[in-house]
């Protein structure tokens, strides 16, 4: 009995390894690499244009109806992005709509945020540096300590690996005075010195209220924001930008996206639908006239354009065939009943996710069983002793067939 079980453990291991690697090998051979399109809104044409990358043809450019345009035409329609090229060609426009074209002004009014689904699923050690936000110097510099939040805020000195009591007490008191209820739920910040100024952290307390914490001249600044506590915040991405329009983007678990403005933390909801932060890339672009919000996965790319006040202007959608729905994908799904996914472009975590291809997979099972019976018809096969082999093939299809054929049953006692 144990010996039989031993054989099935080896078979199970082969099935697992096959389910991880075989579908990958399959796609290495049959996948055609097509990049998802980059969509832009042209203020000259009041319409969308896009660029699509393809391994065979390279970058190709299209207008919104799908006509090919040249690289040069593409750049000309997007003066806010390619003003340097336009200037070189001597065709910089004097004005675009009401905006008088000035390179410096364009540069000052552009802002871009890219957020990948990976950014939501990335392990982070919860130790944070609190940067001095009113530094004596022109550049930001890192502080000397990290903070953590437990039932109070604690600053730790890396040199001694000990808590700095007076500083911790000062900040804990300031946070308590502001109404903060320890411990925290989330800490969101942008702790880097490669930016022109620092806005500290947005911290969600135990009652789901969001507080803004900064260090100003060594002293705590803690303020309760007006961000409602029933938003179900997933993540806040802070991006300090000299435009000072908003602190950053707030994503909720129901896939709504808000800007946290400098106007007393007032939220502006972006007019987008069908966004899924667990699967899609998200790009926010502010230019002098419009706001473009692009989000895409391998099935669709959606672009929504608003005016400067975030009123909806236009929307564009490109549907692409995901690899699962191509002929190669259909064959893959019928060949392999399931696959085991360990790494994904949507997460930094290593998984062990089993994806089952229900209906299509039945074809693979039927085929595997037929092959098994044909092979075993000629040779002696002890069905009474090894009936479980057939169960395995029925449950795992091609993988099980391969494993059972390789690791033959023994001459059981």
């Amino acid at each position: 009995m144990l010996t039989k079980l031993s054989r099935y453990i080896i078979i199970l291991l082969i099935i697992i390894v096959a389910a991880v690697y075989l579908p990958n090998f399959y796609w290495m051979i049959f996948q055609k690499s097509v990049g998802s399109p980059s969509i832009y809104y042209s203020p000259l044409k009041d319409d969308f244009v896009y660029r699509q990358w393809n391994r065979l043809t390279g970058s190709k450019y299209y207008d919104s109806v799908g006509n090919t345009i040249t690289d040069r035409e593409f750049r000309i329609t997007l003066p806010f992005f390619y003003y340097n090229d336009l200037a070189k060609w001597g065709i910089l426009p004097d004005s675009v709509k009401a905006f008088e074209f000035d390179k410096k002004k364009v540069k000052a009014e552009m802002q871009m945020l890219r957020i990948n689904s990976k950014d939501f699923h990335d392990p982070l050690i919860q130790l944070w540096p609190l940067i001095e936000s009113q530094s004596k110097y022109s550049r930001l510099s890192m502080p000397d300590e990290f903070f953590r939040i437990t039932d109070r805020i604690e600053f730790i000195d890396p040199d001694s690996n000990k808590v700095i009591e007076d500083m911790s007490e000062m900040f804990t008191n300031a946070m308590k005075e502001a109404g903060f209820k320890f411990p925290d739920k989330f800490i969101f910040g942008n702790p880097t010195t490669r930016k022109s100024f620092d806005e500290g952290y947005f911290i969600v307390d135990n009652e789901n209220n969001t507080y803004h914490l900064k260090k100003i001249k060594g002293k705590p600044f803690c303020k309760k924001t007006s961000i409602p506590n029933d938003l179900d915040i997933k993540r806040i991405f802070i991006q300090e930008n000299s435009r000072k329009e908003f602190y950053g983007l707030l994503f909720t678990n129901s896939n709504d996206v808000y800007l946290i403005t400098y106007e007393n933390y007032k939220l502006i909801k972006l007019p987008i639908q069908n966004y899924d932060s667990d699967k899609m890339k998200f790009i926010f672009i502010a230019d002098p006239l419009f706001r473009t919000i692009n989000f895409s996965d391998n099935e669709k790319s959606i672009s929504v354009v608003t005016d400067k006040n975030y009123n909806f202007v236009d929307k564009f959608e490109i549907i692409s065939t995901p690899k699962e729905n191509t002929i190669a994908g259909k064959i893959e799904r019928s060949l392999f009943l399931f696959d085991i996914n360990t790494q994904s472009s949507n997460t930094q975590y290593i998984n062990f996710n089993i994806n089952i291809n229900y209906l299509f997979g039945l074809i693979g099972i039927a085929l595997s069983l037929i092959i098994f019976f044909i092979i075993k018809r000629k040779k002696q096969f002890n069905y009474k002793e090894n009936w479980f082999d057939i169960v395995i093939i029925t449950l795992t299809g091609v993988y099980g067939l391969v494993a059972v054929l390789i690791i033959k049953p023994g001459y059981w006692d």
């Binding site: 031993s6 080896i10 390894v17 000397d144 890396p158 360990t342 062990f352």
Partner: protein, 222 residues
Amino acid sequence: MFKSIIYKEWIKTRWVVIISFLAVFITLIYIQLEVRHYIELMTAFANWLYIVQRKMLYYEIFKYFPLIIGAVISILQFVPEMSKNRMRLSYHLPISEKKLLLSMTFIGFSLLIVNLAIIIGGLVEISYIYYPTEIVQSMLFTIFPWLLGGIAIYFLTSTIILEPSWKYRIILIIIAFAFLKLLFMEGGYNEYQFSIWKYVLIIVFFPLMVLFPGHRFRKGIN
């Protein structure tokens, strides 16, 4: 009977015990020196920041240690048995082949666990000198799949050595390699946090794996 098996396994593996203890010990000292050097060179703050934000694994030198120790223990235990078909004699002992194989692997496995415990203990001890709990915890989360890899390779190697036919051996080597690779894919810390229990669930069954090749050997399959 079990006592004499322990004695025999000890004779075969005592050198690896001493050498691996030494190697682990020296490596632990090396890590400590290296961390101290980093801190001297770039300040403790920068060192922490490098660990937290850039995801440097200061203990990465240990990554393949459990694999090596696991494989070596298994080789020392089973290669001498398989050369000149000595295992045939063992199978004539007044103990069933299953019990014999399971006790042998149990002894080797215990030895491996002691080794892994020393690695964990040493790393925790050193880490607490320089780092706060958060970093020490993430170290434990991060090395766990490596330790699991050591356990898995021990049983896989034993199975491969005990297997009498070369055709099966080669297949098993490929499968073992492909499976072990899954435990060493991290690019930073804590990446197996949500899936590690699934890997544990698979490896829990590995100790029984040696029985099938043992059975094939006794039945005289080549």
